[in-house]
């Protein structure tokens, strides 16, 4: 395929990535002088403009592709390129639009931190890589950006590196993401060995090698080009492993709650809105690769993740941990949407979720900020993230409360919010898909509905405890806390995101998703017949359940009539997050280290033992040779010498010079000869 020549949208998309990258370079060069964040904000603001332009030019039009030669290995050329289709420009706009308010918020939130210059540098690097990831035209380039966002995430989680927990968390995040990266690597290496290209459009585009056959039973995997079907499945699973790690799917989700050690503004942008959604984005990008087996595994994993994470969120006391598990749970929803073949709906939920979850974190950040001030001012020494220490905050922070309420309603999918539209679409399609499937697949939509009820519970529990409930912190109870809504620099971004959490951004029909421009742009086509009843039943049931749960939370947490025991097995299991962390530490890490220690022992004693043994044999042989040399060879020589010496010393007595001696010897010899003669003759 010959690529198009660069056009304005391509240049604009390139500029969108380039601006934050320039911001990164300049901040890195400026070092400690880049405190204000001015560079980072300006560059991301420019990115928003160019991203908006790109979106306006490309959305709904034919995809644009441009590439430049990068390097050749053997005879195979590799390219750097930009591929702009609806999905790419949508993600480009969303990432830039969420990143800008977070940057502005950070000015006030991170003020006074001694390492602030590093913060801006890392944040710009992240934005550049994340924006690059969504417009990359081939899987190698995607992979590169994929790893760099992970690297930026590592740096930001460990931003306060003197804290041991942060240093542990960033290592864990990177290593777990590496497991996924290896999956991604194996996946694209397999595709490359089968098809000889990594070009996304050539593989998965409208006329790609993996063209989706319309109206067949299996929704994917038509291309059997260079790879046997079994290896196609392996490649699909390998890519999914990559997505599982990045999008924190069970059981690889453990890094995300731990990643809350980073600054809250980072959590909102990277660990809620954008980077963690990259896994879902990747799955949508390569969707035609997946065959029926892989899709079912994806759907099941997403559903399990949604359920387990929501269950863990029920009992957490750290406000950021609750939101982190909520993110994991919502990512599970998106992955489940991929699994049922509805990747446009997964992307729809990704976009709505990006806004309201980002907002939830920013609100939490504002609360944590104020709680920290409260703790410092009154020397309370409390954990500013513990919701048990909060309560009655609505009185002090009304605007924060209002925005957080809006975000929460969007999260539970309450009518009039954006979340309602995407979650409704997701659940309805899940039911329709299940009706079209056989076997255990039927339980998936019911589980997802149940999870959306759990969602209501944990988020209303949070709201009730934080904003209404009775408090154990004295200054909060007696109205002397002296805390308030944050300054405009933080409030502005929050209000903006709150506005984005309502329905009008996506469709003018508040209660029905079907005409949302986003879905129309990406195009939903279902192989199954729609079930009209669901369009009434699903929203009615979920909304009613939400209201009931809200009332329950009010009753339990505000009125103080909590009715459950807190020492039950289920409760403890949830509170300790299923003991997965200790399982990994003891069993997985233990096994690897155990094996490593065995090898180290073998290295020292067996491998080097053989070497030393050989050396000892060599020395032994040498000393035997030495002994032989001294005793046998030299012995012989000495024996000869001794013999000569002995003989000589024996004979020298005969040479005494006395005539009598000579004559008597002569006489004796003659006598012996004569005797000999006589005896022989006789």
């Amino acid at each position: 395929m010959t690529p198009d020549t660069p056009t304005y949208p391509i240049l604009a998309a390139f500029a969108t990535v380039l601006f934050p990258f320039i911001g990164f370079l300049l901040s890195a060069l400026a070092g400690k002088k880049a405190k204000s964040g001015f560079l980072a904000i300006i560059t991301i603001a420019l990115s928003v403009i160019t991203a908006g332009y790109t979106f306006a030019m490309v959305w709904g039009e034919a995809p644009i592709h441009a590439q430049w030669h990068w390097f050749t290995i053997g005879n195979e050329a590799f390219h750097l390129g930009i591929f702009l289709d609806n999905i790419a420009v949508l993600m480009l706009l969303v990432v830039a639009t969420v990143a800008l308010p977070v940057h502005i918020y950070s000015v006030a939130y991170m003020k006074g931190d001694p390492g602030i210059h590093r913060y801006w540098t890392y944040l710009s690097l992240f934005c550049a890589a994340m924006l690059g990831l969504v417009i990359a035209d081939n899987l190698l380039l995607t992979y590169i950006c994929w790893e760099i966002v992970g690297f930026a995430s590592y740096l930001l989680i460990g931003f306060w590196f003197t804290k041991d927990a942060a240093a542990q968390a960033n290592k864990r995040a990177f290593i777990i993401n590496r497991i996924g990266d290896i999956g991604f690597l194996i996946g694209f290496a397999l595709l490359y060995s089968g098809f000889g290209t990594l070009d996304i459009n050539a593989l998965f585009g409208m006329e790609g090698l993996f063209v989706v056959p319309a109206a067949t039973d299996a929704p994917a995997s038509a291309a059997q080009g260079g790879l046997p079907a079994g290896w196609i499945t392996v490649a699909g699973l390998a890519f999914f492993l990559g997505a599982m790690a990045k999008s924190a799917q069970f059981p690889l989700h453990v890094w995300l709650p731990a990643a809350m050690e980073g600054p809250t503004s980072v959590s909102s942008l990277i660990h809620a809105a954008t980077m963690v959604a990259a896994g879902v984005f990747l799955l949508a990008r390569i969707f035609p690769l997946f065959d029926g087996t892989v899709l079912l595994i994806i759907a099941a994993t997403g559903t399990i993740t949604a359920l387990v994470a929501a269950y863990f969120a029920l009992t957490q006391f750290d406000i950021k941990k609750i939101l982190a598990f909520s993110t994991v749970s919502q990512l599970g929803f998106m992955v489940a949407a991929i699994g049922i073949g509805m990747y446009p709906i997964a992307l729809f939920h990704l976009v709505t979720h990006a806004f309201f979850k980002c907002l939830l974190f920013l609100c939490a950040g504002a609360i944590i900020h104020e709680m920290q001030h409260l703790s410092d001012r009154h020397q309370l020494g409390i954990d500013p993230q513990d919701i048990r220490q909060m309560g009655r905050l609505r009185r002090y922070m009304p605007v924060t409360f209002a925005t957080m309420l809006i975000a929460s309603l969007a999260l539970v999918g309450f009518p009039l919010t954006s979340g309602y539209l995407s979650k409704d679409a997701l659940l309805i399609h899940a039911f329709e898909w299940a009706a079209w499937q056989q076997g255990v697949a039927h339980i998936i939509p019911y589980v997802l509905t149940f999870v959306s009820i759990l969602t209501s519970f944990y988020i209303f529990r949070l709201l009730a405890k934080v904003f209404f409930g009775p408090t154990v912190t004295a200054p909060l109870a007696n109205g002397q806390a002296g805390i308030h809504d944050p300054s405009f620099w933080m409030l502005g971004p929050m209000l903006f995101l709150a506005a984005c959490s309502f329905f009008p951004l996506f469709t003018l029909q508040p209660l029905h998703y079907a005409h949302a421009w986003l879905l129309e742009g990406i195009g939903v086509s279902t192989p199954w017949a729609p079930i009209p009843l669901l369009h009434v039943a699903v929203p009615a049931v979920t909304t009613a359940a939400t209201l009931a749960i809200a009332a329950l939370a009010w009753h339990w947490y505000v009125k103080g009539k909590y009715a459950l025991k807190t020492d039950g097995l289920l409760y403890r299991f949830s509170l300790h997050q299923g003991y997965l962390d200790s399982f990994y530490d003891r069993v997985v890490v233990g096994a690897v280290l155990g094996l490593a220690n065995i090898l180290r022992w073998l290295d020292k004693h067996l491998v080097d033992g053989i070497v030393h043994g050989l050396a000892a044999i060599g020395r032994g042989l040498a000393s035997i040779a030495g002994w032989i040399d001294r005793q046998v060879v030299d012995g012989l020589v000495r024996l000869v010498g001794k013999l000569a010496w002995g003989l000589g010393s024996m004979l020298r007595h005969t040479q005494a010079g006395r005539l009598q001696g000579y004559l008597s010897s002569l006489f004796l010899i003659i006598l012996v000869i004569l005797l000999y003669h006589f005896i022989v003759q006789a």
């Binding site: 990068w70 390097f71 050749t72 290995i73 053997g74 005879n75 195979e76 190698l140 992979y143 590169i144 950006c145 790893e147 760099i148 690297f151 460990g158 590196f161 003197t162 804290k163 041991d164 942060a166 240093a167 542990q168 290592k171 990177f174 290593i175 590496r178 497991i179 990266d181 290896i182 690597l185 194996i186 290496a189 397999l190 490359y192 060995s193 089968g194 260079g226 290896w231 690897v592 280290l593 094996l595 490593a596 220690n597 090898l599 180290r600 290295d603 491998v607 080097d608 053989i610 070497v611 050396a615």
Partner: protein, 534 residues
């Protein structure tokens, strides 16, 4: 253009050594300046040659495709019934040797920079260093097997003394271990060289020859000779050509090193002074990889194809074994030594795949590992210079005490663990891709080897990041207390001037790998064609 550029590059250090011998020993600082000037001159010269090197110059088995060739008859001896002895001074470069020559010149400059504070008999030290420099350049250029062997053995001598005299506490043990290990391989190599000599004749003169290029052409083998492919000779019921391949492979594999012939490496590294560690990891290990490609694969292609599966297995085992053992080390230098074993495993795996991607990836990995391992050992040396300790558990929170040093370490670690944007990433990814390709291209390696190899990428993240966490993050704690925190000053300008170019080079090659691939490609294609094509 001077036709003898390559010869000048090789023997320049010898000249420098001669000059050093005339300088009186009391003028200590003169030696390092002579060495530095020589090193820089070599760097510029090899850089210029790299720039002039024509990418179409495939080399491998054809003399006319070599560049900077110097081919002079050296020893001609009539041996009566055995014919005429023909040994040439024959040097030249192709895509396999050119990048390694440049790398050697670069690593030498770094090593000289790291030797700046050598006090103990500086004269002897720098003379030996220059001799080593010459031998290394010679090894990468020699195309006559006899000449190659002379340079190859000549490398051992200065290294033995450099470790044995200027090394750490157990230096004698490490030096003798290193010497005997390597000698063990090269003694048998000599037998194969003699066997090849009697099997191969120069087609022009009919005399037996040590010319490697003649050895690569089956037509030059005397019919019925020991190593002739047609004769199918056997020794100990092993085909002679396979035996020759195995013997040469073991000789070079000890240098690489492969598991289980690697235990000289950690000891040599731990006991060697920093500059010698840099040379060992940066250049010496590459002699092994280079030898396998230039000699084992090119002269015994049939045996290479036969052994590819085993070579792949050796690569995979080295990758995983080295990484796991690195995970348990408590000495930072030992940890990095084992990480070298793991990273060089990728070189073996990539070569074994016998695909263009895999072989080019292996070459790239050698170049990348060359200066990244040099950087890592230099960084360890910086710490050791200050407090004479390298225990991973003896330091904590160094990021607070030495921020610039920490940035260098973090970048070098991430570059080594294969972060995209740095060179190691390209090398490892293409080794993995090549290994995956092998099953469909030539069927030599199964796909599980690629999957197993990629586990090494995961493990490398584990040991590097764990080390970062233990030594650099958290609240500062030092085993040596206040005395240490005074001694632990941040990177000096000299150290920064050495580190920055290496990291920049890793970055440049990672972002624009064409700088290396353009020079390597033709040779790799020719090599793969030579080995798999027949």
């Amino acid at each position: 253009m001077n036709p003898h550029l390559l010869t000048i590059l090789i023997f320049l250090p010898l000249l420098a050594a001669a000059v050093m011998l005339t300088v009186p020993a009391r003028r200590q600082s003169a030696y390092r300046y002579i060495a530095l000037v020589t090193g820089l001159f070599q760097l510029v010269l090899s850089g210029g040659m790299y720039y002039l090197f024509h990418p179409k110059g495939a080399g491998i088995s054809q003399e006319r495709l070599y560049q900077f060739v110097d081919h002079i008859p050296w020893i001609r001896l009539d041996m009566g019934g055995l014919g005429r002895l023909e040994i040439d001074y024959f040097v030249g470069v192709d895509g396999l040797s050119m990048p390694l020559l440049f790398l050697s010149a670069l690593v030498m400059v770094i090593a000289i920079g790291a030797s700046w504070n050598v006090q103990k008999s500086a004269k002897g030290y720098f003379v030996l260093l220059m001799t080593l420099d010459m031998a290394v350049m010679g090894v990468f250029s020699a195309l006559d097997f006899f000449l190659f062997y002379v340079f190859y053995e000549l490398m051992l001598l200065p290294l033995y003394f450099l470790i044995g005299i200027w090394g750490g506490v157990r230096r004698e043990y490490a030096a003798i271990k290193f010497f005997l290990y390597t000698l063990f391989g090269s003694v048998f190599m000599l037998l194969v060289i003699v066997g090849l000599y009697f099997s191969v004749t120069n087609p022009d003169t009919g005399a037996h020859t040590f010319n490697m290029l003649y050895m690569m052409d089956p037509a030059n083998y005397v019919s019925g000779s020991f190593f002739s492919a047609l004769a199918n000779q056997e020794l100990f019921s092993i085909p002679a050509r396979l035996l020759g391949f195995i013997v040469l492979f073991i000789a070079f594999a000890i240098k690489v090193p492969i598991v289980p012939l690697h235990t000289w490496l950690p000891d040599a590294h731990v006991e060697a002074p920093t500059p010698i560690s840099i040379i060992l990891a940066g250049i010496l290990l590459k002699v092994g990889g280079y030898g396998i490609l230039r000699i084992c694969f090119s002269i015994f292609p049939d045996a290479a194809v036969q052994s590819a599966w085993w070579l792949g297995l050796i690569g995979v085992v080295s990758i995983i074994y080295g990484a796991l053992v690195a995970l348990t080390q408590h000495d930072l230098k030992r940890m990095i030594a084992y990480s070298s074993v793991s990273h060089m495993g990728f070189v073996i795996l990539g070569m074994a795949s016998l695909t263009t991607e895999g072989t080019a990836g292996a070459m790239f990995q050698m170049i990348s590992h060359g200066f990244l391992s040099a950087a890592l050992f230099f960084l360890v040396g910086m710490l050791y210079d200050r407090v004479h300790d390298r225990g991973i558990y003896h330091f904590r929170g160094l990021a607070t005490l030495m921020p610039r040093y920490t940035v260098f370490v973090a970048l070098a670690f991430f570059a080594s663990l294969g972060l995209p944007g740095f060179s190691a990433f390209i090398g490892e990814v293409f080794v993995i891709i090549g290994t995956f390709n092998a099953e469909s291209v030539n069927g030599l390696l199964p796909r599980w080897m690629a999957i197993a190899g990629s586990v090494g990428i995961l493990l490398s993240a584990a040991y590097f990041l764990w080390t970062l966490q233990r030594m650099f993050f958290g609240q500062p704690y030092l085993k040596g207390g206040g005395a240490w925190s005074k001694a632990l000053t941040d990177a000096s300008p000299r150290e920064t001037a050495i580190m920055v170019p290496m990291l920049v080079l890793a970055l440049v090659l990672g972002v624009y790998p064409a700088l290396a691939f353009d020079k390597i490609n033709a040779s790799v294609l020719a090599l793969v064609e030579l080995v798999v094509g027949n």
